[in-house]
């Protein structure tokens, strides 16, 4: 409301000014040589985020920008900040996982495998997961390569091969972006109802998910708070990656031209390292980190003991559901 009011005032003021002061806006008589702009002065006067721009007759709006100092900040981001952030986040996460493994080891099923399984993820669930995950891996690798490959990979292959590799990486990145986005959307639809945070999650979090102590398992529904966290990271992160990535895919549609693109690459890059770090942890706990966990996305069938330990409430619900199934569906004994 306040903002609207401000705009209105500004518009009125403009109207008033143009009505009252035509002579000022007219520029009738002046001394062009003496009054010429000075580059130095213009650059000094530039506010943060401003470009030195003017008019150009070709229809390419970007071309009207003469000097954009933001290029230098973007360069600084790309060359210095991003590697630092990436290094800290990714190597930090890797280190943390290694450390965790060393300390905690593989989390076992306390009661061992029962031999009896329960369906955790149907094939559609698993298709959604793996389509997204598969794309993600290639997107992550090609993305990391574009950002850091020059430091790490180029010396191994030489410029030509590396450029070709990176070129195909870019292609893969461009094309796999679409199934990735579809996967994220599908996962959202499939799982959102079980990922609404509730009171149980607080308790789970309070106990640290029982992850740091053996034999301790806070109750959880179909998804515990940790998994919900992963879900929301994937959904929110995926959404932001999609939006920022969309304009990088279609650069000529980007709002605000190069400034917009600079923002989108920055967001895309920073978020992606966080995203990758999170997915590393997710992948760890879903595979080597925990006995029995991989089956959930592998076959879709998990051991009932594993399920009872980690998702007691969910198992109870599932079993209740099974009992309530109309009797005619089960042959009478």
């Amino acid at each position: 409301m306040k903002a609207q009011f401000k705009t209105l005032v500004a518009a009125l003021a403009l109207l008033f000014a143009s009505a009252m002061l035509p002579a000022v806006a007219q520029y009738n008589n002046f001394q062009p040589t003496k009054e010429a702009v000075q580059e130095d002065k213009l650059l000094r006067q530039l506010k943060d985020g401003d470009r030195l721009s003017g008019r150009i007759s070709i229809p390419d709006h970007q071309a009207a920008s003469l000097i954009q100092p933001q290029g230098q900040s973007w360069r600084d981001f790309h060359q210095n900040k991003l590697p630092t952030i990436g290094g800290v986040v990714l190597l930090g996460m890797l280190g943390a996982l290694v450390l965790f493994f060393l300390v905690r080891g593989r989390i076992k099923i306390d009661h061992g495998f029962s031999g009896q399984t329960i369906t955790r993820f149907a094939s559609l669930d698993r298709f959604a997961h793996w389509m997204t995950a598969g794309c993600f891996i290639i997107l992550a690798l090609s993305g990391l390569n574009v950002s850091f490959g020059r430091m790490v990979v180029l010396p191994l292959f030489g410029p030509e091969t590396f450029a070709m590799l990176t070129g195909y990486g870019k292609l893969a990145h461009n094309y796999l972006a679409f199934p990735f986005m579809a996967g994220v959307a599908l996962m959202f639809l499939l799982w959102v109802k079980d990922n609404i945070p509730n009171k149980m999650d607080l308790e789970w979090l309070k106990q640290g998910g029982g992850i740091f102590a053996k034999g301790k398992h806070p109750p959880a529904g179909r998804f515990n708070a940790g998994q919900k966290g992963v879900f929301w990271i994937v959904i929110a992160g995926g959404a932001v990656m999609s939006v920022s990535g969309w304009f990088l895919l279609f650069p000529y549609m980007a709002p605000d031209g190069v400034a917009g693109l600079q923002l989108f690459t920055t967001v895309h890059a920073v978020l992606s390292v966080g995203f990758i770090a999170a997915m590393l942890a997710h992948a760890y706990i879903g595979s080597v980190g925990m006995e029995g966990a991989f089956d959930a996305m592998g076959t879709g069938e998990v051991d009932i003991n594993w399920a009872k330990e980690h998702h007691a409430v969910w198992v109870a619900e599932e079993q209740a559901k099974a009992r309530s199934v109309p009797s005619n569906s089960v042959p009478a004994e």
């Binding site: 403009l14 109207l15 143009s18 035509p22 806006a25 007219q26 520029y27 009738n28 008589n29 002046f30 001394q31 062009p32 040589t33 003496k34 008019r55 007759s57 070709i58 229809p59 292959f157 030489g158 410029p159 030509e160 091969t161 070709m164 590799l165 070129g167 195909y168 292609l171 893969a172 094309y175």
Partner: protein, 988 residues
């Protein structure tokens, strides 16, 4: 200026080597893919995807090892005359190099000049002759086209007379082409032979010639380097003549010169001025008189100069009296103090030059404007000096030459006029009977109360100006002072969107029985009307595909070499004119002294004929041999003086391009004239005086019966080394005899003079003396053959002998119309000029209320003229993709118009409208809009791309400004009003 590399780089770091070294032995692309498994299965498609294709070259590169020929020609766009250096391999123009050796452009070009190579690769050129058959464009052969056209012309001639065929020529002709075209008109038997000068500087030519003798730029672009004060008025040279700014800005820097730009629009030229003065469009005379008011008031005028060399300044002084600062500001909008500053600087910081263009000339008062400018120069003594003068920047590459060659409804070649003596002169040059020529013309019966005309009278009467051919077509035969109205248009190299009132033009176009467009492009003429038949398109090549000379604005004549052969089936103007003349049956007479090879007249021979007849303007000394020598020795000419040192072989002592007048025969080696009327030089060094063109005295009879006699000859002023130390009239054999100088003539010369003179040899003037003897003798005595006169501040033969301010026909200042009305209606050029009635009606109808914005027009640097050629050039077209209207920020805000948005521009006549993009800018003042005039192909919101023959549509199309421009014609030349009308603008 630029540093050149001494040698090619040897030790350049080459990535290719490094890259290859690294890559080899590692993995090639294919094996990499195999190994990585990327080729397998579903991703196989990637292999066919482009990683970002590399473009294909279109013409070029310059192949190594193939012999490159260098061809030198002249840019075919504006009148600066920039040299073009073409690299040709195997008959293909592969590269364009800077012509550093040219003193005119020193390697430089503008956007147009730097892209001329495209013209001869142009895939949008007209490729073969075509005709409309029931509305369909159909390919025909040359022979068929010429034969059908000729038959139709003869039919029209028999039915309606020779005057019913209009010959619209081109400022893009070479001199030789222009001359042949004028000659063709003469042999056909009409004076309706015109070209673009009508719509650009016809008023300049009339105004300037009526002031001091010749209608041309007095100095040169290069000479502006000498100026201390420069005024641009109605000239946006930065866009129209970009390379001229090299000289202007250098001069401005070196001399710390004052540069004033007086214009309704803050142009790219104005951006470099030391001071910009915004004027109201169409008030030039008021501005100039306002300046001169200060000059006379403060005694800043050059009294000695006026006394010696100017006649009638007292009458001007009387008019100037009325323009005190208050009245001037009321009319023009310029504060008195500012105008005083401009006036004082111009008068005191000399030499001062005055530059004008179409902002001054394209008005109902165009000739008067020009005369006012001349008066400012005369009052301050700035004519005939280096660094001063009237630097009139002309438009097209050869508009000066084409004007010189008489593509003009009022004259035969070289300004001889249409009088009997002129016809007889050219009949002698052409070696045809005067009677034959006369018989070609119509006699005109008495009509509508106007007396009949004999063939001879008709032959000496000016034709119809190109600005009004469509009125002459659609008016009833009784309203056109000739046998019949127009039935056929022969249009060689002229755009169809260049004259106001296009809705009226389209109607006339549809009434024509025959329309022939001979041009490299179909032009707007071909696409705009609903014609179904009787329309022919003849593909003409550009000047790069033929040879010949062209005259730059500074009167320098430059020879252009053929770069490549005409592309597709196009032919040059010479050949097409010859074929037409053959079909019409007078080729043998017309080309009697011109060699024709394979149907193509030889350019050098045409120029020699021009030399043989062009005494009056000094077109006699520029033989093809001399011009070619100038091209060879271009680097020898000085940048500022344009003169080659005396010791240079072939061209020593010459001014570059032998700027006319280049007196006498080539053998006497006159150097040409860099600065006209310059008394500080000997006539043999290009010196001069004002031309004695208007007699020796003038008796100005006043209404009260008294009269004042003016001496029109100079007093105490003469050119350096002159044996006559006072004013003198033009030379005839008789005058020579009186001075006893006839002894200096050779026997041969006397024989020629006697032969020409017949019974009265004494009357043979220098201008018709085919021997060149009178001129030669004059030069030896240090005098100008044309005499030594005063310039006329008052031109008694013009409608307004002293220019008076007159409001534009469509003016926003209706309050001023009563005091400053336009001239009364009158018949001019065979038709009624009803300007006064139109103005009166507009005021009474309150047009200014409904159409409150002044609409003016002008050039863009990327395009030229009607723009068909430049809008078809992909390198240029990309830079201006939309027709637009410049509208002031305040006007746009008021109308809710956004920059880049579509708007309708409405004109006050014919319910006309144009849909264009808005360019919201403060270049134009409040209440003023500007539209460029190069666009066509859209009409009142409708895209007409489909009307062009397939593949010949220009890349960029757009509304023509002339759809919404309006009525208004200069009474002296028929110049249209192209710079002030009214319009309304609304968001579309």
């Amino acid at each position: 200026m630029l540093t050149k590399r001494k040698e090619a780089i040897a030790g350049r770091a080459r990535l290719s080597g490094i890259a290859a070294g690294l890559a080899s032995g590692v993995l090639d692309r294919r094996s990499f893919l195999r190994r990585s498994g990327l080729v397998a299965g579903g991703v196989a498609a990637i292999g066919s995807l482009s990683l970002g294709a590399v473009r294909k070259a279109e013409a070029g590169p310059v192949a190594a090892g193939v012999k490159s020929e260098i061809k030198k020609n002249v840019c075919t766009h504006c009148s600066v005359g920039c040299s073009v250096v073409a690299e040709v391999q195997n008959g293909v123009w592969v590269g364009q190099e800077p012509a550093f050796d040219s003193p005119i452009n020193r390697g430089s070009h503008c956007a147009k000049g730097a892209s001329v190579r495209e013209l001869v690769h142009g895939d949008r050129r007209l490729k073969y002759p075509m005709k409309l058959v029931n509305g369909e464009w159909t390919r025909v052969g040359w022979d068929q086209a010429i034969s059908e056209i000729g038959d139709k012309m003869n039919e029209i001639r028999a039915k309606s007379g020779a005057d019913s065929v209009y010959w619209l020529g081109s400022a893009k002709f070479s001199n030789e082409g222009a001359y042949l075209f004028r000659k063709l008109g003469a042999f056909w038997g009409t004076n309706s032979v015109d070209h673009q000068a009508r719509i650009c500087h016809s008023t300049t030519v009339a105004g300037v010639a009526n002031t001091w003798g010749y209608g041309a730029q007095t100095n040169s672009y290069n000479d502006i380097r000498n100026a201390k004060t420069i005024i641009f008025m109605g000239s946006n040279a930065a866009e129209a003549h970009p390379v001229s700014l090299q000289h202007v800005l250098s001069g401005k820097e070196m001399n710390r010169a004052n540069m004033f730009v007086l214009d309704p629009r803050f142009t790219r030229t104005a951006a470099h001025a030391t001071e910009f003065v915004r004027i109201r469009s169409g008030t030039d005379i008021a501005v100039i008189w306002g300046m001169m008011w200060h000059i006379f008031k403060n005694g800043w005028e050059d009294k000695e100069f006026i006394a010696q060399r100017v006649a009638g300044m007292d009458l001007v002084r009387a008019e100037v009296e009325k323009w005190n600062p208050e009245e001037t500001e009321r009319v023009t909008g310029i504060p008195g103090e500012q105008l005083k500053r401009v006036a004082e600087t111009f008068a005191k910081e000399r030499p001062s030059t005055f530059i004008w263009c179409m902002g001054g000339t394209q008005h109902t008062v165009g000739t008067a404007n020009v005369r006012a400018y001349c008066n400012l120069l005369l009052a301050t003594g700035n004519v005939g000096v280096f660094g001063g003068g009237a630097n009139i920047f002309r438009g097209h590459c050869n508009v000066q030459g084409a004007t010189d060659m008489g593509l003009d409804i009022t004259s035969l070649p070289l300004y001889y006029g249409l009088v009997e003596g002129a016809w007889k002169h050219w009949a002698r040059v052409w070696e045809v009977d005067y009677d034959f020529l006369q018989a070609r013309f119509d006699d005109v019966p008495a009509k509508s109360g106007r007396p009949a005309r004999t063939r001879k009278e008709n032959m000496e009467l000016p034709g119809i100006p190109s600005t009004r051919w469509f009125d002459a077509t659609s008016f009833k035969a009784d309203d056109v002072d000739q046998r019949d109205s127009l039935k056929a248009m022969m249009i060689f190299g002229h755009g169809g969107n260049t004259v106001p009132r296009m809705p009226d033009m389209i109607k006339a176009l549809e009434q024509l029985e025959l329309l022939v467009v001979a041009d490299p492009h179909p032009t707007t003429f071909a696409a705009i009307s609903g014609r179904k038949n009787g329309t022919y398109l003849l593909p003409i090549c550009t000047q790069f595909e033929t040879d010949g000379s062209r005259t730059a604005s500074n009167r320098s004549v430059q020879w252009g070499e053929k770069v490549v052969n005409p592309i597709f089936e196009s032919k040059d103007d010479y050949e097409v004119i010859f074929r037409l003349a053959t079909k019409l049956g007078f080729a043998d007479k017309m080309f009697k002294n011109i060699k024709v090879e394979n149907n193509r007249p030889v350019a050098e021979d045409i120029l020699r004929e021009i030399n043989r007849g062009g005494w009056s303007t000094g077109y006699s000394g520029q033989s093809p041999e001399r011009l070619k020598a100038h091209v060879r020795h271009r680097d020898k000419f000085d940048l500022v003086t344009l003169r080659a040192p005396a010791d240079v072989p072939e061209v020593g002592g010459d001014y570059y391009g032998l700027p006319w007048p280049c007196w006498g025969k080539p053998e006497i080696r006159h150097p040409g004239t860099h600065t006209l009327y310059n008394t500080n030089l000997h006539v043999k060094d290009g010196g001069g005086t004002f031309r004695a063109r208007f007699g020796t005295v003038y008796e100005d009879k006043k209404a009260d019966g008294t009269s004042t006699t003016y001496n029109l000859l100079a007093e105490g002023s003469y050119s350096k080394g002159s044996e006559l130390t006072d004013g003198y009239p033009e030379f005839t054999f008789g005058v020579l005899k009186k001075l006893g100088w006839d002894k200096d003539l050779t026997e041969e010369e006397v024989a020629t003079i006697t032969k020409i003179g017949g019974a009265n040899p004494d009357a043979v003037s220098w201008a018709i003396d085919l021997s060149g003897g009178i001129i030669r003798v004059c030069l030896d005595h240090g005098v100008l053959p044309y005499g030594n006169a005063k310039a006329r501040a008052t031109a008694w033969n013009l409608p307004d002998p002293v220019p008076v301010h007159r409001e534009p026909i469509y003016t926003p200042r209706t309050d001023l119309v009563a005091k400053y009305p336009t001239r009364p209606d009158g018949r001019q050029f065979r038709m009624m000029n009803a300007g006064f009635s139109v103005q009166k009606a507009a005021v009474e109808r309150g047009v200014a209320k409904d159409f409150p914005i002044i609409l003016t027009s002008g050039r863009l640097v990327e395009y030229e003229g009607g723009g068909e050629e430049t809008r078809s050039n992909k390198w240029l077209a990309e830079l201006q993709q939309d027709m637009f209207v410049e509208i002031n920020t305040a006007d746009a805000a008021q109308r809710g118009i956004a920059d880049g948005g579509w708007v309708w521009v409405y004109g006050p006549e014919n319910k006309s409208k144009a849909k264009v993009k808005a360019l919201v800018t403060d270049r134009v003042g409040k209440g003023v809009a500007f539209m460029p005039f190069h666009f066509g192909g859209w009409y009142q919101g409708v895209d007409q791309r489909g009307n062009y023959p397939k593949g010949t549509d220009p890349i960029v199309l757009g509304e023509s400004v002339n759809t919404v421009t309006t009525y208004g014609y200069d009474p002296v030349t028929g110049m249209h009003e192209g710079k002030v009308t009214l319009c309304q603008i609304q968001a579309a």
